[in-house]
Symmetry: C2
Subunit: 686 residues, 2 copies
């Protein structure tokens, strides 16, 4: 319905503002994008898959936030099925399909099928099992889930309560859930979708004396729903666990077994074998292989975190460039235009270090992928030496990087004032989904113990054998530290008016080594209780991971493959990430003699200067991440800057609530005016 | 449908665990509750109103997270109307009604009517206007909204674009929205509910030369919807702005005017008058009155923040007491029960300082209320002296306390691992709603400028007149600081093995004074640009507000009215809040000479000790906040500890998604199995 608002324009033209922002920076967005996404034809693929999705009515995102949670699953399933059909129709490969998932930006009800379910069968099934199951998996003839965590146990896998008791007479395993807390819980794709599941259950084998002995959690492949009716098979109670912060499109499930009998072949037996006759257990192979794939998942988490963070920062930088608020109170002319919000240091200090962090994560994500590939090659040649370092590094980075991104989204949102709280921010979905990341794949506080334990071990080795040379970078650092200890000269961040990048790297390395030594001393020398050290162990992991981010960012500048302008801004971003981090935790840099007191005192001023240097390029720098409007789904963050037009359109044209007129008279029980509903419709939904 | 899960129990009995937790602390929950809620019969009222709501099907919360956003407004309106009827039926007074709102725990579509709309008419209408409008307001014959912020302007009220141009010929104001950004935006209760609104518009009056001059934003009362049809009146475009992070039950609205003519009497004219004949403008009265009511709102924000934080902490402490995870790796016996999660220092360090913060907020909220009442009395006697201090203090506290609570909810959620991410946490609603608080009623970064400006002014006065005595506590502190400057001896937090509470207070006061002096020096002496100092001004505000929290908490212990056990734990909570804060920002305590380096070095150990002291009382301490299960709406935080039973019930019995069986075959377009829907149902909703 047309009305007088159709002809209204916003006071300031957002498109013109963003154009001016782009015009004043000589950086090439194109060059930056190629630099960030050089691999696998990412940018071309993004364009190609995007063109397919944008045409599909089912993939329109406009009404997503208005849907009830059950409808969000309906939509998620409809899209999952459609994507699978597009694979056939468009001839997509696996990378195209992954790209479609990224662009759709929701957790698909099929997701666990082609991730954990497929991977587990590929890695843990015996050749015969794989021959039987893989064709069904590949063709999506069956849909699988991965049922490990339980209502009562998550991180502590050894504590799982679900049982698989072997009956040598019938040659069957009896899956059973003895308690409520033994219910499988949180398992994605299981609540409504999956026909099959990998079930991790305590393997119980009969002993000569008639008792049963546990051989720890082992994987079983189990059909959980009937083929035609899709109802649970007898002996299985399974369902969706209900609403969550995020992942509304996903059916995270629960499942219990009432003495369900499954054949001997249900146990995935590439590494774990039970003799069908005797019930004897046998293990084969090296667990490093499993470690390896976990590490790859974590390297991907770093790369994912960078893109999530870049997305939030893209929205916030574009919007705060356009948004005006107040005049400079020291300006002589108080009648001019208001200031762009991004020109306030209080907004810059929240957004620009996050922008720098996104780049820091990028270079470390790349380094992790290389490390993973090298380790993988070494493993193929039977060399498992570097697994421990890779595993601990990836744990620490998982913890730090997902915390950066989860907190960063909220920081970006708050920087945008009132409109940040609205659906037009485009952050509601990604925020709700991403808040799971600090918890899943190893809780961010818990897994830092692994890093710290590794560092203490390396330090112990270095102390006892100070002369041995090692290829391990951390060990080399620790030996250098031990040699210099006692005659340390703290790093001086400024050399004259210049920032000394090498000194920055040195300060981060020294801090990590010194804190490792202190914890080595507390645990190994003073023999303090592990649990009493947990807080410091967590800090050590973060300190070490920050060092890795600084190392890799610095290495990427030696020399930067970018042309002069971009390379210079990239150096400022490196300095901003490092010095902002140093300022935030200045006390540990001071007490560990990592940096001089005068270096630390000038950090706030250096940071202000760096932000002034980076500010003119801010819009171009976020453009470089090449995140399509379709992914942003944000009025505030649109590439073309039409913020207010879009916000208004969402409210006035797209909001279904505005199609209903209400009876607001408190004396009447009717809710929708003229319907005579007497409130019964809404009561029926409660 | 009964099944074998009906007889299952969780491995650990949560009820027994919480009983044991309660048995091992001698603190009286009853005494603590009376201490916290001594005023206005809060606890009795809570019980009485709760009994009414719990019986009402409309007030059941079980399905709220499953509802579509339009349905959440339906429900909100139905409840708003029902509550108004209960006022009549139950003979509720205003406090009872507020209690019902608190317990219902959602923003009511009537909320702005009896808050900002009613208050504005009460405070800004002329006696004649009040006589006309108040009976309609009081009886809810009309429903009002308060339309100030616009699409393009929030904090900067002077920048509002909506115009009210006076036409002396017709003696009417012409309300007009000249741009898209002049659209009213975010205004609660306006989207679908309100019949009337207070509209803040730039008052434009004709000048002798024929031009118009602006007299700033002024309030107009305007009918926006027709009485019978509830459709917008001609010349008004109004609607709901769509989905947001939170406040799903509230219809935040937009509104534009197409040269809408309203009578001369529409201008609320107690303080602002326009001569109907000449169009001349006249102002009356003192703006301090408006300041005063704003300050009361902010004192309430502190009290609200404490209860929100207490609620999140209640859930997290109860759940982490029950939840078991891993064994102590230094324990000799590795077959015993797993450790309660709350026994890990890494969980304690996240939850116990927040618990302490809730109490810190409580005592300062009380102090603010007293300060407000005293100021109010002084104003009545024509004394406006203390308004500036009250206003700046309340701004700083608003910023700090809402940041504490908003961040605290998320910290609590993450401490609870996987289940924290589920709907059973009970935190989704409060989290989404509360995230608005750092932005509304003055953005948390922006309003800190007011505090800092005030402190710089007081320091300037103190420097220029070092001898004058003042009743103002801040001024007295600054004079003491100036007298001692140069011969400062940093505070020693430990006196032997004892914590010196007085030294803690001294350290916080000195830090605030020293940082005020540094900013006085930068701005007044060195004449640095205001905007270049913004980050430090923000920090100063927080430092000053932390001092106020420490001061008030300390004062509440001199002596504590609590009996010995509770008083002793309360002292530990004071120390934990103060020393945790000190440790978090140890560097400023060090560089300002507020505390000795050795004091700062031992903080981590003291904090660990304090947490060990507080831990046995944790459950009793959260019980003391007396937050009913109805408000918590949390499986994890239930008073009776039946965590797993409740989680399972929500998933298995209450989840509507589990009532539908789906067609998961990707080759079929059907979504609900057997329905033949071909995906059309979900497409229609997009």
């Amino acid at each position: 319905m047309p009305d007088f608002t159709d002809n209204l324009k916003p006071k300031d033209d957002g498109s013109a503002i963003l154009k001016a922002e782009r015009d004043r920076s000589p950086i090439s967005t194109e060059e930056l994008s190629r630099h960030l996404f050089s691999k696998n034809g990412f940018l071309e693929r993004q364009q190609r898959v995007l063109r397919v999705l944008e045409k599909e009515p089912l993939f329109q995102k406009k009404q997503q936030l208005n849907l009830a949670r059950p409808d969000r699953y309906h939509l998620g399933l409809a899209r999952a099925k459609a994507l699978r059909r597009f694979v056939v129709r468009e001839g997509w490969d696996v990378e195209d399909y992954r790209m479609a998932e990224y662009l759709t930006d929701e957790m698909s009800p099929y997701h666990l099928h082609f991730s954990m379910f497929a991977t587990t069968i590929k890695e843990q099934a015996s050749p015969e099992q794989k021959a039987y199951w893989w064709p069904k998996v590949e063709s999506f003839e069956i849909i699988g889930a991965y049922a490990q965590t339980e209502l009562g146990h998550g991180s502590n896998v050894r504590g799982l309560e679900c049982e698989a008791r072997y009956d040598p007479n019938s040659k069957e395993f009896i899956l059973h859930s003895p308690t409520l807390t033994s219910s499988k819980w949180w398992n994605g794709s299981m609540g409504r979708t999956a026909t099959h599941a990998i079930v991790m259950a305590q393997l119980l084998l009969p002993q000569p004396n008639g008792s049963y002995k546990s051989f720890g959690p082992q994987p079983f492949i189990v059909q959980i729903r009937e083929k035609v009716t899709h109802e649970p098979v007898d002996g299985v109670v399974v369902g969706d666990i209900g609403p969550k912060y995020g992942y509304t499109s996903m059916d995270n499930g629960f499942m219990l077994f009432d003495k369900l009998r499954v054949p001997h072949t249900a146990l995935l037996s590439r590494y774990a074998k039970v003799d069908p006759e005797t019930g004897a257990f046998r293990k084969e192979g090296h667990p490093g292989v499993v470690y390896g794939s976990l590490t790859n998942v974590r390297a991907n988490i770093v790369m994912h975190a960078r893109l999530v963070l870049a997305r939030a920062v893209t929205i916030a930088i574009r919007y705060t460039s356009i948004r005006r608020q107040f005049r400079d109170r020291d300006a002589a002319d108080q009648s001019g235009p208001e200031m762009a919000v991004l020109d306030y240091p209080t907004v810059q200090i929240r957004l620009l270090p996050l922008l720098a962090t996104a780049f820091a994560l990028h270079y470390t994500g790349e380094a992790m992928h290389n490390l993973y590939n090298n380790t993988r090659n070494a493993i193929e040649e039977g060399n498992f030496d570097s697994i421990a370092e890779l595993h601990s590094t990836s744990s620490g980075l998982k913890s730090l990087c997902t915390t950066y991104a989860a907190d960063g989204i909220e920081t970006c949102r708050r920087s945008m004032g009132g409109h940040g709280f609205g659906g037009g921010s485009g952050l509601i979905g990604i925020n709700n989904d991403y808040l799971s990341k600090p918890t899943v794949e190893g809780d961010n506080w818990m897994i830092t113990q692994q890093v710290a334990a590794y560092l203490i071990k390396i330090m112990t080795d270095a102390v006892s054998n100070p002369k041995t040379k090692s290829a391990d970078a951390t060990e080399a650092l620790f030996r250098r530290y031990l040699a210099e200890r006692g005659r340390r000269r703290p790093a001086e961040v400024l050399r004259g008016p210049q920032i000394d990048n090498g000194a920055i790297v040195d300060a981060f390395q020294w801090r990590a080594a010194e804190m490792s030594f202190r914890l080595y001393d507390a645990r190994i020398v003073q023999k303090k209780k592990w649990n009493s050290l947990l807080i410091q162990l967590h800090r050590l992991s973060n300190v070490y991971s920050q060092m890795i981010l600084v190392n890799n960012f610095y290495a990427a500048l030696q020399p930067s493959p970018l042309s002069a302008h971009a390379a210079s801004v990239m150096e400022s971003l490196f300095q901003l990430y490092a010095l902002y981090t140093m300022d935030t935790d200045a006390r540990t840099f001071s007490t560990t003699l990592s940096a001089t007191p005068s270096s630390l005192d000038v950090l706030p001023d250096i940071i202000l200067d760096l932000m002034i240097k980076i500010r003119p390029h801010a819009v171009k720098l976020v453009d470089g991440w090449a995140i399509p409007d379709y992914v942003l789904d944000s009025a505030l963050g649109r590439y073309d800057g039409r913020v207010y037009e879009d916000l208004f359109d969402r409210a006035h044209r797209q909001n279904p609530l505005n199609r209903t007129t209400f009876n607001v008279d408190w004396q009447s029980e009717e809710i929708v005016l003229g319907s005579g509903d007497a409130g019964k419709n809404i009561l029926a939904k409660l």
